[in-house]
Amino acid sequence: MANLETMTINMGPQHPSTHGVLQLVLELDGEIVRKATPHIGFLHRGVEKLAEHRTYHQVLPLTDRLDYLAPMHNNLGYVLAVEKLLGITDAIPERAQVVRVLLAELTRIKSHLVWLACHALDIGAMTVFIYAFREREEIMNFYEEISGARMTSNYFRVGGLSADLPAGIEERIRKFANDMPGHIATYEGLLTGNKIWQKRIQGVGVISAEDAIDLGVTGPSLRGSGVDWDLRRDQPYSGYENYDFKVIVEEGCDTWARYHARLKEMHESCKLIHQALDKLKPGPILADAPKIVLPSKQSTVNTIEGLIHHFKIVSEGFKPDAGEVYVGVENPKGEVGFYLVSDGSARPYRMKIRPASFINLQALPKMCEGSMIADVVAVIGTLDIVLGEIDR
């Protein structure tokens, strides 16, 4: 009798393969998932509400707590939105632009490494996890030296960067970018030819290009379904138009295709890192906009103008014109956008974040309904979600 009915079970919020506090209510017919209902919000911190009560500079640390696996990208999206609101996009110095691209691509590798490690671990390939986290640790060390924090970087500033790169780090980043393709080959050696890995991800989590666009899927998850769209190329920011890179598109529409898309993206990121290092020339790292950009410590302590600007910016902030802008950037997980509404005061009147993971997660039921319960784990992994960004 019992086998005629479906069974409803909870997966999460305390479950190791839901990548955080995601709860899925699964309606099962034996091992087949008939219906999957995601429940989210366990990590909701009200970032958008908090932002309305802070000056534009003070909002920045909130943004790297969204997608904490790619904090620099969130910082970048936010500062680009504020710079556009202020109309100072063209005033950002060359060095700051190049460092932004350099760190964005390092961060892309970092985020993809966590994706690969956890995705493989969820499916049962444990070894890759150890290797991928070894390389990630190196990027974390770069992070720590550059920004002072391993995860919550808070490094970019409206108008440029908070500090220049530490001496000697460029050569080490170059060495890392030289070594990385070899490491990626190691991961591929462990996974791509592995029969179990192939069986677990080929033909799993299929989503067509039409459905993916309809559901708003972005990033490698969309490009794995054959849609040739990357904001770095199609709406370039921070000087991406000056770099030579390929947008990776895979036609398979399944987890296997998305696996290859992300691996190849890491190779492209290595190329971009080399190009950025080649472009890196000494120069100013902050725009010449004293009413917006915090003055240097030197200037604050030694000059009356510096002191006044510092005092005004810290106590009151700057006031952009009334208006509204939307800026989207290509995060490792998809498009992350910031919609800022200004009423002419020193605080954002409204800040809406377009979270890539939130919208990609909406495609999960479509991708796993009708498949086996074990495939749900593969689909969560391949969507590469971060709950900090979903719940905000």
Partner: protein
């Protein structure tokens, strides 16, 4: 097709329904009557703006109409953006769902209902999404206190 051409076509098609067209920092915003939102979105989708990037509500407390529902559209063909807005009154804080046009809108409209308290007609599944199911109030409204409804507002460290 340029954004300007799309706006011209929209105006020709919908006439009075288009309330305002503005530009700021190179971004075009079109305000339309909320009654026509589904028709306008369907038209724009067929016209090339095939991707709904984001949807949210903005609370202009003290102004009439109080709310704006904002749609960020993107064209994967021409890589252009267009922002669509529809005013919504406080007394009748509801607008038709566009989840039939783009499936993305489903969760985005749930979020807008949850945090801003704007209801969506004919929505397939209008439940709270980020806040707990039994939560009272809509936190992103401007008259909702930052500290929450049951606490004294923070006065600062020095008093």
């Amino acid at each position: 097709m340029s954004v300007q051409a799309a706006v011209d076509k929209l105006k020709a098609q919908f006439g009075d329904t288009v309330l305002d067209v503005s530009e700021f920092r190179g971004e075009t915003t079109v305000v339309v009557k909320k009654e026509a939102i589904v028709a306008v979105c369907t038209f724009l989708k067929q016209d090339g703006f095939n991707f709904l990037t984001d949807l949210c509500g903005v609370d202009y407390l003290g102004k009439s109409p109080r709310f704006m529902v904002v749609y960020q559209l993107y064209s994967i063909g021409t890589h252009t953006r267009l922002r669509l807005k529809a005013p919504v009154d406080e007394s009748d804080a509801r607008i038709d769902t566009v989840s039939g046009v783009w499936a993305t809108a489903n969760w985005l409209e749930r979020e807008c209902w949850d945090l801003m308290g704007i209801s969506f007609n004919n929505h397939p599944d209008l439940r709270r999404i980020l806040m707990p199911a039994d939560w009272v109030g809509h936190p992103l409204r401007k008259d909702y206190p930052l500290q929450g409804p049951d606490r004294e507002p923070y006065q600062g460290r020095l008093q």
